[in-house]
Symmetry: none
Amino acid sequence: MLFQHRKEKILNLLSESNTVRIHDLVTRTGASESTIRRDLMALEEEGLLTRVHGGATKVKNIGIEQKMSQKESINHEIKAKIAKYCSTLVKPNSQIYIDAGTATLELVRVLPNDKRIQVVTNGVDQALLALQRGINVTLLGGPVKQNTHAIAGITAYQQLERMNFSFAFIGMNGLSYENGLTTTNLDEAMIKECAMQQSHKIRILMDNSKIDQIYEFKVNAPTQAIILLNKQAKVNSPDTIHKLANHFDLHFL
Amino acid sequence: MLFQHRKEKILNLLSESNTVRIHDLVTRTGASESTIRRDLMALEEEGLLTRVHGGATKVKNIGIEQKMSQKESINHEIKAKIAKYCSTLVKPNSQIYIDAGTATLELVRVLPNDKRIQVVTNGVDQALLALQRGINVTLLGGPVKQNTHAIAGITAYQQLERMNFSFAFIGMNGLSYENGLTTTNLDEAMIKECAMQQSHKIRILMDNSKIDQIYEFKVNAPTQAIILLNKQAKVNSPDTIHKLANHFDLHFL
DNA sequence: TTATTTTGAGTGAAATTGATTGATTTTGAT
DNA sequence: ATCAAAATCAATCAATTTCACTCAAAATAA
């Protein structure tokens, strides 16, 4: 596994749970302890995490500075760009599904402030932001996951089955040629699949940091799904992208 | 368990009750007494707590109330007191329902930080705060109300009907002799009733400012419901309280 | 090919941990 | 108030884990 990929995996894991342990990263990446140690040192040098004995934690921001760092988070601009594009797809008088996750949160931030749009989401953060922006929102019901603040489970699933959407905007953790779309959690994987099945059009929000990343659970996307990526992905991983293009409908921004 | 984890846990526990005991921390974290002792020393060094014989207490800040106006501060104190009392009623391994609203939000703030407690709520704010405090939470599904951030509707209702709780903590807008318990919204009123019906024990969180207030929709409480009020209510509205006592189980704090 | 970078393994140093000791403080009964 | 028992504390030590560093092998680039 390349340094770039390990680095992205580490940061992705860290964004989902406040701390990562070195031993866990060793088993997850298959790299040696020395290598992981070096990676963590490099990432700390970049100011992207704080090393602690036994692993690493998120950098803790003080008060008002928090917003700043959120913007400085490596992929924020990419996510914002993709979110902006998605927001142009949303028409008034439509019911749309927005998945939990950081990329889709950006979408809520820039969504047209229109009372006629009906947003359905399984993300508590998404719901709150939509409320603050005065957008109508419906939450799925069920247990809330600690790390991702996503709602998943049988109740949410059954609730989704009765709905249908003109658009679904889905987040995803990994995309690779071998395993396709993957994510970290079975419940959430099922919710993603179900939401996509109920949707007329589908956009999966990703970026180059997710390419060649493989997580535990596969997610099958319907044929009408379009995967959104930034152009940099084509530059960074041309081979993977080329192979993926045979099986997925990729769209570059 | 990483030092970071223990540190967060200790501070979390401290935020919900003014003091923590070393022995309690030992059992909760699974670490040895020596380790906990060292943690407390480190945290004291950081100025995050003060050690006392047998455990540690919060470091007292000067003028914490500065920001709030006097009226807000008093109102907040009443709610905090009632919330604190409610938190003592919650036992581990229990499933409890917490209604949306400001009074119940205080309850979430001081709820024991125990993974074995299952919180079910229809309040988005409640859910988020519980998540931040590391408490397991399940959200009801459905449309979210703009002003109250409460989830209500047929989906939430049906979801509730399948559940049962050892305790329900309900917020309410008004209490009067003529109309009993009243609130501002039909959907929310129905959710409150349904939640109460599914609960073994019920506490309705109120204060003197709600007495003699009448809103549009009546809420019928089961006989086992106990209404919590501050003692000031008895002083301010002795007649109303006296008459109410014939029909409701009032409890003064 | 050679030069450069990246990686994995090994080493001893450093940090963390849990147990033990005896001193100190608190508690409760007289 | 006084004393003994219990609880809590600080200090130390050995075992374990984690760390930083070095060096050779492997991968990559020139």
